[in-house]
């Protein structure tokens, strides 16, 4: 049995380095999720706008980002953008930019679906009281939609955390890249990739537990 020959000592030695990489992964995921939610909220609202131009721009934005691979988007930001601007871009910035913009398209669709799932009578009630569209969105529709989008947003968070491994291709030292670097020195593919996988798993399971907890909490709130 090959796995009994695993070098457990090496795994223990690599762990601290890999965990530092995991910290970086969490950092870029968290920042990208926050930025993605912020941009996504506006794009999502633009997607349901009755203004045709705004609607069209948002639709093209979402289609482009969902219709092209994240890997290609990373290359576009890191390698193609400097050709246009004439300035090299920091890998950290490039990673955050690519991940958050990519995520914002998925988040926009989540928000759009969440908002459209709210009964049309709510908008009518708000408007009939003399509130503007924006006021009704802000005080009536979005707060209700927010509860419904927690589960899909959690899924998006998890997807983004895994997809962030792609930024290793531009040399950004997150978890996957750290793994590659250690293997380059030690040739211990089995041990290191196993460790990397376990760390990703631990992170995604934690997030899904957190989301489940949030979901329960808001359901209880709903039933007050």
């Amino acid at each position: 049995m090959k796995w009994l020959d695993m070098n457990f000592e090496l795994m223990a030695q690599a762990m601290p380095l890999l965990l530092m990489g995991a910290g970086v992964t969490i950092k870029i995921t968290a920042i990208s999720v926050l930025l993605g939610i912020l941009i996504g909220l506006f794009i999502g609202i633009a997607r349901i706008s009755t203004n045709r131009v705004i609607h069209l721009v948002a639709a093209v934005y979402v289609d482009f980002l969902r219709g092209t691979p994240l890997l290609v988007q990373i290359f576009l930001v890191y390698f193609a953008l400097p050709v246009v601007t004439g300035q090299r871009i920091d890998p950290f910035l490039a990673a955050i930019a690519a991940c958050s913009i990519n995520s914002s398209a998925y988040v926009a669709e989540i928000f759009r679906a969440g908002i459209q799932s709210i009964d049309a009578g709510q908008m009518e009630a708000g408007r009939s009281l003399g509130m503007t569209w924006t006021q009704t969105m802000r005080y009536i529709i979005v707060p209700q939609a927010a509860r419904r989008v927690i589960p899909p947003l959690g899924n998006e968070f998890i997807a983004l955390l895994k997809d962030s491994s792609l930024v290793s291709v531009i040399g950004f030292e997150e978890l996957t890249r750290r793994g590659q670097l250690i293997i380059a020195r030690t040739y211990a593919s089995l041990e290191i990739w196993l460790c990397v996988a376990i760390i990703y798993l631990a992170m995604t399971v934690s997030i899904s537990r957190l989301v489940a907890w949030l979901e329960r909490r808001y359901q209880i709130d709903d039933q007050r």
Partner: protein, 239 residues
């Protein structure tokens, strides 16, 4: 108070309102009846532009809709009560009532809450201010919805089948609130199937069918001596 001239409304190719003229005087209670699909709800929803008319002119309290007038300004003067209540489920009865006065009229929180308590008492729900909509029965929800509309101190109230989604035993409590309101001199337009209410409170009854006002008159006249064949036919089915 409200004047409607040659109002037409189409959804796609279907013309739902085919030229309606209507005047509602101050303090008048107008009851709109008619078979389903006749256009009576659409007519009511055009009065505050929840439905945009295809053509025609609507004037509310001296302001003409669509003609550059701020629609929100007109809606603030026109309260609306819906068949399915449409309370805001994430807010208490109190917050449902105080939201619009605070955000639209700029009323202070204290003042809005004092007003809301007075209105809740008026609709018989003084003790349910802290309740969420789902903790209230249908009749209670509709009464909160009426209080919510009244909180804007509207000049006109529109009721779109306010008792149609209620269990029979709750219809009375909602109608009672509406009767009180009518006696206080509120201008009201009510789409309903409650003929007892129409007889007792209505100053005028409109029978709407196939997108036009087929017949109108005092309740007694319409119910006892309908002139039009279609009106007779409709009344014979529901009375």
């Amino acid at each position: 108070m409200i004047s409607v001239r040659n109002l037409r409304k189409s959804f796609g190719r279907a013309e739902v309102l085919k030229g309606v003229n209507l005047d509602i005087a101050e303090k008048e209670v107008v009851v709109i009846i008619g078979p389903s699909g006749s256009g009576k709800s659409t007519l009511l929803r055009c009065l505050n532009y929840l439905e945009q008319p295809t053509s025609g002119e609507i004037t509310v309290d001296g302001m003409t809709l669509g003609g550059g007038t701020d629609i929100n300004k007109i809606r603030a003067e026109v309260g609306m009560v819906f068949q399915r209540f449409n309370l805001f489920p994430h807010m208490t009865a109190m917050d449902n009532i105080t939201l619009a006065p605070m955000k639209v009229r700029g009323v202070s929180k204290e003042e809005a809450e004092a007003d809301a308590l007075r209105l809740l008492a008026k609709v018989g729900l003084a003790d349910r201010a802290a309740a969420y909509p789902e903790q209230l029965s249908g009749g209670q929800q509709q009464r909160v919805a009426i209080a919510r509309a009244l909180a804007m101190k509207p000049k006109v109230m529109l009721f779109d089948e306010p008792t149609s989604a209620l269990d029979p035993e709750m219809v009375k409590e909602v109608l009672q609130v509406m009767k009180d309101l009518a006696r206080e001199g509120m201008t009201m337009a009510v789409v309903t199937h409650e003929m007892g209410f129409a007889r007792e409170v209505g100053d005028r009854v409109l029978f709407v069918d196939q997108g036009v006002i087929m017949e109108e008159g005092e309740p007694e006249e319409i119910f006892s001596h309908p002139k039009e064949e279609r009106t007779r036919e409709f009344l014979s089915k529901i009375l």
